[in-house]
């Protein structure tokens, strides 16, 4: 330790150095100020002075982790591919049989060997980017390449994110945050939402709307007796009731431009809607050709309304009447406006904190912190007299700095984050104690006072660095591997270690230097 020979240099503070330490501390406090002001005063501050953001566990709110059902996306891709192949072969009037899809591929047999190459090119034309292999027995295998598969999955997630955002925006909660996480997940954070049931319902629906015709006069309840080209669709209101609906989609919900809740002639809640030009024309044609017949409005494979067409509807707008509540039509209109999800969303995780619990947590955290400071503030002077007071001043500066840094970097304060601050308070004096104990050792071994003060800082320095770096390793890991509130804890703990190193080393040293130069003491008080 060669530099231990120049202990004086380490203690000495030039005016410049004092100014730097003072300015850093003051700037820290300046950034911390907005946290103790009320809303009104805060509004008048410049925009860079912002308080710490409160996590959902402190301000109350709801956290939802959603997963896009990529298996459903893949299954739909395959069904679509199967339909594309069927359409292509039919159009070219090529004979085929055994058209079916497995989990990953579509198979079809072309009985006439002559037609295989024609079939291949027809399929290639209709299903671009797909891989087609000829197998034995005139079978063709059509595979979706991995790249296309991932692209489509990724697009489905992006689109889901957009739809979720639109739905939540339409619902009107304040400052929602909707982010993508990993490949197939979406994090939704809703500050201030104490009971997310309705939002969960909104997010949980795919909201695929289609208009079909009902097969007239077919009172079938068994799927095996269905007339060709029809399907059984359950009724949304009456359990067990089903409708025989033609498979053909007359108009799809994608053609909607607007949907609003409103009231029908009897004052019952309805949803009125408007199509775009193409949709309006299609709807007009359908209603013109089917006067007197029943239309089926199908939402997520349930018939929500089955009105009889009394007259052609040509204006491009219409309404959905059914057994709805006012809340029901509001949500339905919202879902129709925001559009359908490409795939169902699963809710993997939900954490909701009511506003009253959040407020209680803040109070509890504040109280524990203040109490912690007071207790440490009592103990340190008992253990180290005036130097204990220096440590407490450094501790106070540390709190101001920590809160200032947290505000400056825009960190989110969580309840475990408050625990991190409290812990930092307890541990912050560690560096002080290391330094003081060193000073006493040096002084007792016969060095001059000034020498002891300087080498106390010097000798304790490596120890402080070593012991804090290991703490930073733990904090860093917590940050990168933790989630949500635990991350908040990691942030305050890590930043707390850094600010406490500054305050214990720089500020304490400054105080000791001032004490030494102003009071000209002869002996060490500790």
């Amino acid at each position: 330790m060669a530099n231990a020979r120049q202990p004086i240099a380490t203690l000495q503070y030039s005016g410049m150095k004092i100014a730097v330490v003072a300015i850093i501390t003051l700037v820290g406090f300046l950034f911390a100020v907005p946290n103790v002001l009320d809303e009104e005063t805060r509004a008048r501050l410049p925009s860079w002075m912002t308080p710490m953001q409160l996590g959902l566990d402190l301000q109350g709110g709801s956290y939802l982790l959603l997963e896009v059902d990529l298996e459903a996306v893949a299954a739909e891709q395959l069904t679509n591919l199967e339909e594309t192949v069927r359409g292509a072969l039919r159009e070219e009037r090529l004979g085929y049989r055994n058209l079916r899809s497995t989990d990953e591929e579509v198979f079809v047999t072309i009985p006439d060997e002559e037609e295989i190459s024609a079939a291949r090119s027809a399929i290639r034309l209709a299903a671009v980017d797909m891989e087609i292999d000829t197998l034995e027995n005139n079978r063709l295998r059509i595979t979706i390449p991995d790249q296309v598969r991932t692209e489509q999955a990724s697009a489905a997630v992006t689109q889901s994110l957009e739809i979720v955002r639109r739905r939540i925006d339409e619902f009107g909660t304040s400052e929602p945050s909707i982010q993508r996480q990993g490949t197939d997940r979406i994090i939704v954070e809703l500050p201030g939402v104490g009971d997310p049931e309705r939002i969960k319902d909104l997010i949980g629906q795919t909201a695929k709307l289609n208009f079909h015709m009902i097969e007239a006069g077919a009172a079938v309840t068994d799927a095996r007796d269905l007339p060709p080209g029809t399907m059984l669709v359950p009724d949304s209101e009456t359990p067990g009731m089903t409708h025989v609906v033609r498979r053909r989609v007359e108009v799809s919900g994608e053609r909607l431009t607007d949907a609003q809740p409103s009231f029908g002639q009897n004052g019952n809640p309805i949803v009125s809607f408007r199509f775009d030009t193409v949709g309006g024309r299609m709807f007009g044609q359908t209603t013109q050709n089917n006067v007197g017949q029943q239309l089926a409005i199908v939402l997520d494979n349930e018939v929500i309304s089955a009105p009889v067409i009394n007259s052609p509807i040509i204006g491009g707008s219409g309404m959905i009447e059914g057994q709805f509540t006012i809340e029901g039509v509001q949500d339905l209109a919202l879902l129709l406006r925001a559009g359908a999800l490409p795939a169902p969303l699963n809710i993997l995780e939900e954490r909701t904190v009511g506003p009253s619990l959040g407020a209680d947590s803040i109070l509890a955290g504040e109280f524990a912190s203040v109490l912690g400071v007071i207790l440490v503030g009592i103990f340190m002077p008992i253990a180290y007299f005036s130097f204990g007071v220096f440590a407490v001043i450094a501790l106070a500066a540390n709190i101001g700095l920590l809160i200032g840094v947290l505000s400056f970097v825009g960190a989110t304060l969580t309840l475990p984050g408050i625990a991190g601050i409290v812990l930092t308070l307890g541990m912050a004096v560690d560096a002080n104690v290391l330094i003081y104990e060193r000073m006493r050792d040096e002084f007792n071994s016969g060095r001059t006072l000034m020498n002891s003060l300087g080498s106390g800082f010097q000798a304790a320095f490596t120890t402080i660095i070593d012991s804090n770096i290991t703490g930073l390793i733990a904090g860093g890991l917590l940050f990168f591997l933790g989630s949500g509130p635990v991350q908040g804890f990691a942030v305050t703990l890590t930043l707390g270690i850094l600010t406490s190193m500054f305050s214990a080393i720089m500020i304490t040293r400054l105080l000791v230097w001032l004490w030494f130069t102003r009071l000209k003491p002869q002996t060490l008080p500790i």
């Binding site: 699963n346 954490r351 009511g354 103990f379 253990a383 560690d430 003081y436 890991l477």
Partner: protein
């Protein structure tokens, strides 16, 4: 005797022989570790819903709660074992835990709705948490990974800064702390959740901090006092940082106790784990991290110079009392 600072009194008047009595704490540690491992193997951990999945509902009632009635009604929902506890001063805060339901992620939500429906009016929803099986499993892996990586990272750092014997000692004592802390959660079946993992990592950080401080001293003294035997030297190093250990542990404990008492229900498990971890961490520095150096054959040749075998304890300069 005039009024003296506590720090001076302690460092002047207390000298303990920590190392020669090491057999007793070694035995104690061994018992604790074995008990922890056995408990972990036999009854495992009482995983909270973070890891086990399921639903948790915390409500505040506006009337006195008939716990038996509530228990009857909620257990009648067919959701398996529903745990209901009250806490707080008024006894009107109720915590309801529903175990993980069969049927994947959606089923947990259905359970939550059932519970909320059954509670009916008069209950303010304070907190709800629903964790599906998929996330629960991931959180367990992440948590274990974080602890393992922390141990490895710290070991590498100590190894770089000190000799390998120190790194081994540090990891041994950290492993001891981690196992016994998790063991306590298993033995007393205290709920083990995400916050507990954070606590375990913080404990690791705190414990290693303590250990490194003493190691630093040991290394320094090995260079300075070449004639001291290793046990004596370790003792000496321990005593010279004793006041620091006491102060840091005490001030941190003050803060943690404030958290336990006033920090609220959500943080209680975390704070209790912290307090236990601090005690174990301090203990393990003295009785695990240091004594094992004797067995790892730490020699002065690893540092500087040679060992003197006379076994004579040389009184170092700053044990002779203040130069008055």
């Amino acid at each position: 005797m005039a009024l003296q600072p506590l720090g001076r009194m302690v460092s002047r008047n207390f000298k303990f022989d920590f190392i020669s009595v090491r057999a007793i704490p070694f035995a104690l540690s061994a018992i604790l570790v074995v008990a922890s491992l056995v408990s972990l193997a036999v009854q495992g951990l009482n995983f909270g819903i973070d890891f086990a999945g399921g639903a948790l509902v915390e409500v505040r009632s506006d009337h006195d709660v008939d716990l038996a009635d509530l228990r009857g009604r909620l257990n009648g929902l067919g959701l398996g074992d529903v745990s209901i506890t009250t806490f707080g001063d008024t006894g009107r805060d109720v915590m309801i835990r529903v175990q993980e339901q069969e049927g994947g992620d959606a089923a947990q939500n259905v359970a939550l709705k059932l519970v909320q429906g059954e509670l009916g009016e008069g209950f303010e929803l304070r907190r709800t948490e629903v964790v599906g099986p998929k996330v629960g499993a991931e959180l367990i892996i992440d948590g274990a990974l974080a602890v393992a990586l922390a141990l490895i990272g710290i070991m590498i750092y100590v190894w770089l800064r000190f000799e390998w014997q120190f790194a081994m000692g540090a990891v041994l004592s950290l492993t001891h702390d981690v196992i016994t802390t998790i063991g306590i959660f298993s033995i007393f079946q205290i709920e083990f959740n995400l916050n507990t993992v954070a606590a375990v990592l913080t404990i690791a950080g705190f414990s290693i901090n303590d250990t490194v401080v003493v190691y630093d001293r040991v290394r320094e003294m090995m260079r300075k006092y070449k004639k001291l035997t290793l046990p004596n030297l370790l003792n000496f190093a321990l005593n010279s940082v004793l006041m620091r250990t006491i102060t840091t542990t005490f001030t941190t404990a003050l803060a943690v106790v404030a958290l336990i008492v006033f920090g609220g229900e959500v943080l209680r498990g975390f704070s209790v784990a912290m307090l236990w971890g601090m005690i174990v961490g301090t203990y393990s520095t003295i009785y695990v991290a240091l004594p094992v150096l004797v067995y790892f054959d730490l020699r002065r040749d690893d540092m500087v110079g040679t060992v003197s075998n006379d076994g004579q304890r040389q009184v170092p300069e700053y044990e002779r009392g203040p130069a008055e």
